[in-house]
Point group: C2
């Protein structure tokens, strides 16, 4: 991608900040989120937890553990810290440093392979990049793995989910092989509407799970690792070793505790809106979505435009319609096409179908 001049970069920042957004929950600032969190802390008489011990953090861990059906939970700074820890504990139990995960797993693509460089684990990619990991993919490696990590939904494939039956078969196959099954639930909150199941039903059969609070929930950074008490106790030692047992995590926990119920209650509406948006977009020539229809309130949108052209067109749409359609766009496999991720949250709830249709038609006009 050619370098963007500082002038163009500054103009884009200005356009982005003066436009309505389509993606996510809209513009947030530290001042706004901290003020709201401070007020919530005052109302709830929150004290600082000290190195993870305190009423707020322990109550929140218990609340999420109950919601997801796990025995114990531990709030951690990030999923990048939590997930390799879970895999390492399972690997040490099995005396086997070999784990498996989807080729597009966050651990493979976005974590500088900390699972290997820090934790000494070896990984085999299981399944193919464009679709969810299924029982049949596991068959070839099932004798060898200490643990398998499954992401629900698969972000890099547009938020795809296996069918409920496929998921049940996968869980059973793994259980029969004696392999530990870990759930990468970075976007687990986004799954329930599609399955029409509770979070605990979705999590049943997983030995451990990670969920996130800053993505769909919109809180300050924070993650939770869930599983049996013995796993969580051991993971807490690794959290300390990793430098993640901070003097206090109170702001992060408070913002998550404040927003969780509110945002979970909105997930069905976001899902519904994502289905509507997908219908509007896929009716426009040169636009397609993956998966179609979306399984969750996220999707990948494909444009019959080169990346650079898409970004230039996005700027013009923002100038004309006051609507910021996308942030980063990247080339698609097909020459002349590009793709971007759309997360449907509070922002898209405020954008009508007619505006959306007009804005994307203008975008495609190049």
């Amino acid at each position: 991608m050619p370098a963007v001049s500082e002038d163009l970069q500054a103009r884009r920042e200005e356009l982005k900040s003066s436009s309505r957004w389509l993606h996510g929950h809209g513009r947030q600032t530290p001042a706004k989120l901290l003020e709201r969190t401070a007020t919530w802390c005052r109302e709830h008489e929150v004290a600082f937890d000290v190195y993870g011990t305190g009423e707020l953090i322990e109550a929140f861990e218990a609340r999420v553990a109950e919601l997801l059906g796990f025995e114990a939970a531990r709030f951690m700074p990030s999923g990048t810290m939590a997930q390799p820890i879970a895999l390492r504990v399972w690997a040490e139990r099995a005396h086997n440093a070999h784990v498996g995960m989807h080729p597009t797993s966050h651990l493979e693509l976005h974590e500088q392979r900390g699972y290997a460089h820090l934790h000494g684990l070896r990984s085999t990619p299981v399944g193919s990049a464009a679709s969810p990991l299924l029982a049949e993919h596991f068959e070839a490696v099932k004798e060898r793995l200490a643990a398998l990590l499954i992401e629900l939904p698969i972000r890099e494939a547009g938020g795809q989910l296996p069918s409920w039956g496929e998921l049940e078969t996968l869980k059973q196959t793994i259980r029969e092989a004696g392999t530990r099954l870990h759930l990468d639930g970075a976007r687990l909150w986004e799954c329930a509407a599609h399955y029409g199941r509770s979070y605990a039903e979705i999590c049943a059969g997983f030995d451990s799970c990670y969920v996130s609070f800053y993505k769909g929930i919109g809180a300050l950074p924070g993650a939770m690792l869930l599983g049996p008490r013995a796993l969580i106790d051991e993971a807490t030692v690794w959290q300390r070793r990793s430098g993640g047992n901070l003097f206090t995590l109170a702001p992060n926990v408070a913002s998550a505790a404040m927003l969780l119920d509110e945002r979970l209650a909105r997930m069905p509406a976001y899902h519904q809106r994502a289905l509507e948006i997908a219908r509007v977009l896929s009716a426009i020539e040169g636009v397609s979505v993956l998966p179609d229809p979306p399984h969750t309130n996220m999707m990948h949108v494909f444009l019959a435009l080169e990346s650079e052209a898409a970004m230039t067109a996005r700027d013009r749409v923002a100038e004309t319609f006051g609507l910021w359609l996308l942030n980063a766009v990247r080339p698609a496999d097909v020459p002349g096409h590009s793709r971007f991720e759309l997360y449907v949250g509070e922002a898209a709830m405020q954008v009508g179908d007619r505006d959306l249709d007009a804005a994307f038609r203008a975008l495609l006009a190049g």
Copy 2:
């Protein structure tokens, strides 16, 4: 130590929260600190950094790097994350996983030895527990170590510092040996008054350094690693691997940037007050301080009381004087004696010598 009943624990919490404190900067709540940070963010039009990229975080890194005289800096969630990373990078450069540190180093005592379990480093203790690490201690191991970690001041020995001459000799000996020298500056902010030197002069000759923002500075958790650009670039990859490259660190950075200058300006007054407090305390029979006089605005206080008796007496002093003298107390070597750490900050500035004398005499009365 015998278990404390829940009733007693609750009564102590109540006493602690209703009394003035002697230790630290006084009672802080998430609501108060977040409100102040939110206001500061609004005034300074702070935007969220995204994975460590953003105006606020980059400007703060540059500001601290300049203050301490290093080329580059990286804000990280904790020192427990930052310091083993620095040692690992130096070790990989030297093709030697062997490092040295004082036997009371935080990495040895309080981090579940992440340097070994996560980073694969081996450590030899250098020096003796009760005094600072000096050039003579290094002589015996100087052919073998990739890096040596020095803590200034040594927390576990009451905040002792080597003399300026001893420090200069140590720096020169290490440099001549070709060993990398890393500064554990968890309480570096507390050193300048004693030496009568600038932070940059103290840091000169160290290859890398870590400082903290939640202890003396009183901000939300946060740390900074400083050193040459190439070290910081590599450390940033390890920060990602460790799960410390959070989606945003804006609240942590903002609270540190807000408080740093204010608290650094107070350090000479804290140091002066610590010297006065040490004089008052050491004039009381059954009380002594280490070091005497204190080198920084912290000290260890020794009491001619068993730990349990000291805590019971503390409770009674709080009831009588409304003054909370200490948190955790632990047994000293000498039978019948106990010790605790006293950090002199805003809290002790509000306690007069006469009250202090009366309260400690009452404490020793048992």
